[in-house]
């Protein structure tokens, strides 16, 4: 199936998605070298400059270059999205595998716990996790990762359920392989394609939730140039310097659109029967 897929030409959706995400990742990696100005140098003489030839996206209330801050913030957003999703996968995948393979009370216990986590809106759950400690960006990423465990676990479970009846699993059982071997060496490799697609889409959810939490003050702290925090700080100056907020907001939208195009494109490629994602 994968071999077949790789021979198909890339769709426009995938190409655009790849271009956007690729460009943003590259800019993020190269940020310290491509940023035209220092991102954290305060200069009272250059406060609130509108976008111009020197400062393409203008300057903020401390006279810092918005473009340079934006570029440095790219790294934080990408790290938030990838880090949080890695946490969801690391915990959610084993849970889903166990739930779908062992069935019975294991399944019941794990899935009812997932129901509990899913009974609170994601942002409230994130706030609840973060309410107990002084804010830091890595804690926000951890909280976002925890929030999205149930979704990953459920998907893994349903994939596992559909694979558990296959002949090669029966064969492995007949060979008296251990459950760990069957779960991680037989089922997991076959479950990866849908999981990777889902994970890539989860990255955009994680970025949005993480920046919302940063925006509410429960993430990155000043003088960090996290996009959510940049927008939060720019709120007081919307009437005279809207560019400080609009630049990171637009960047975030572009990144999320890129990731969604990539994820949706990959999903259709792997499983043409599924239409693009409509609801979560």
């Amino acid at each position: 199936m994968q071999l077949e897929a790789s021979r198909k030409p890339l769709t426009l959706q995938l190409k655009v998605g790849l271009a956007i995400v690729g460009a943003i990742v590259l800019l993020g990696l190269l940020a310290p070298w491509v940023a035209p100005h220092p991102w954290d140098t305060i200069s009272m003489r250059t406060r609130f400059l509108a976008p111009n030839a020197t400062y393409w996206f203008g300057t903020d209330e401390y006279g810092r270059d918005v473009l340079s801050r934006l570029l440095m913030g790219t790294r934080l957003s990408l790290a938030m999205g990838v880090g949080a999703t890695a946490i969801s996968l690391a915990i959610g995948v084993p849970i889903g595998l166990a739930s779908g393979y062992f069935r019975g009370w294991v399944d019941e216990a794990l899935m009812r716990s997932a129901d509990v986590l899913m009974a609170v809106p994601p942002i409230m759950l994130g706030l609840l996790f973060l309410a107990v400690t002084p804010p830091a960006l890595w804690k926000t990423a951890l909280a976002v990762g925890l929030v999205y465990i149930p979704q990953i676990a459920r998907l893994t479970r349903s994939v596992t359920l559909s694979l558990a009846g296959e002949d090669f699993i029966q064969a492995a059982k007949a060979r008296a392989e251990t459950a760990t071997y069957i779960l991680f060496r037989e089922i997991l490799p076959n479950a990866w394609p849908p999981l990777i697609v889902e994970a890539s889409l989860r990255v955009s959810y994680a970025i949005l939730l993480g920046s919302a939490l940063s925006f509410l003050g429960l993430g990155a702290q000043p003088p960090s140039s996290d996009w959510g925090l940049m927008i939060a700080e720019a709120r007081s100056f919307l009437d005279r310097a809207p560019w400080i907020a609009l630049a990171p907001g637009a960047a975030m939208c572009l990144l999320v659109i890129g990731i969604n195009l990539l994820g949706d494109g990959a999903r259709e490629r792997l499983d043409p029967r599924l239409k693009s994602r409509v609801a979560t």
Binding site: M124, I231, N260, A279
Partner: protein, 317 residues
């Protein structure tokens, strides 16, 4: 069907009990010392001990939980440590404000979302359809707080039509009351339109190609009747389920929107109580939101079961 409903309701009740344990467990971990918070920085150690004893803070955690949950069920949500007021009226007043915001937005999301979806489906493959598709793709990508910023920049800072924040009681007059509501409602509607309209579009396209719609057309029925009476009814089934879920999502969305627009609802109360370490308020507010969210999910499930004959008449699993 009845058995199914009862089972679902019991399940939701159990889930909410578990959520309350989760909320209690996490908030009990808060490093802030409640007695110290109430008495202020100049409290003597003996006073702190006495109050801790009075509040039962030295009891085992499970006993504290049972006491808290028991009082909660009797309607006593505790006392706000910050404002020295009972939490219950505080939370319910905020809940009223939030329900107003979420309710108005919900109706608009439903009407506009379904409308857009139907129009896009009927113009399937044409320019209007593509415009709606691209717009909804954007709608999913733009986070709520950025919608809010755009709306403030355009309508408050630039055009000067709307106030950037605030809330007025209805007693101040209808327009004074309605005006500050417009911006937050717009934010919520833009942020939530996409799901409903995309789903309506795809199910409408599917239904319009089905044999029974062809039959209705072959009978010579006017297109309006075919669309409204034959196609839309079936196409709405998935949209209605997603709408019920959307109400839950709106309750999550209010956190950010209320904070930005300084709207005195539950979301802002949650953020406010976290910033000020006001535990009883935080616990109560989150539980109330979880209850509404869970109810919305329950309604979504029941509606789906009720509207789908396969489940309604089958052996309800």
């Amino acid at each position: 069907m009845a058995a199914y409903v009862v089972r679902r309701v019991i399940l939701i009740a159990l889930v909410l009990v578990a959520v309350s344990i989760l909320v209690f467990a996490i908030t009990t971990l808060l490093p802030a010392n409640v007695a110290y918070l109430i008495l202020g920085p100049f409290a003597q150690p003996e006073q702190v001990h006495a109050l801790e004893h009075k509040l039962g803070l030295n009891d085992p955690v499970w006993l504290q939980y049972l006491r808290w949950a028991g009082a909660f069920l009797k309607g006593d949500l505790g006392e706000s440590t910050l404002m020295n007021r009972p939490v219950a009226p505080l939370v319910f007043e905020a809940l009223g404000h939030s329900l107003l915001l979420a309710g108005v937005s919900f109706v608009l999301v439903a009407v506009i979302g379904i409308g857009l979806g139907v129009v896009a489906a009927l113009r399937h493959g044409r320019a209007l359809d593509h415009t709606v598709s691209i717009a909804t793709y954007l709608g999913i990508a733009v986070p709520e707080f950025f919608w809010a910023i755009i709306i403030i920049v355009v309508f408050a800072a630039w055009l000067g039509w709307l106030p950037a924040s605030g809330y007025e009681p209805l007693s101040a007059g209808f327009s004074a009351w309605a005006k500050p509501l417009i911006a937050p409602v717009m934010t919520l509607v833009f942020g939530h339109l996409a799901h409903v309209s995309r789903l309506t579009r795809s199910s409408m396209i599917e239904v319009m190609q089905s044999p029974y719609v062809m039959a209705a057309r072959a009978k010579g029925l006017p297109e309006r009747v075919v669309v409204l009476h034959h196609a839309l009814r079936n196409a709405l089934l998935p949209a209605i389920t997603v709408l019920a879920l959307d109400f839950g999502r709106l309750m999550g969305g209010i956190v950010v929107v209320e904070t930005i627009f300084a709207y005195p609802g539950l979301g802002r109360l949650v953020v406010f109580s976290i910033q000020n370490r006001d535990l009883p308020t935080l616990q109560a507010a989150i539980l109330v939101v979880a209850a509404i969210y869970a109810l919305a999910n329950l309604v979504a499930d029941l509606l789906y079961a009720f509207l789908n004959p396969k489940i309604r008449f089958g052996d309800a699993a």
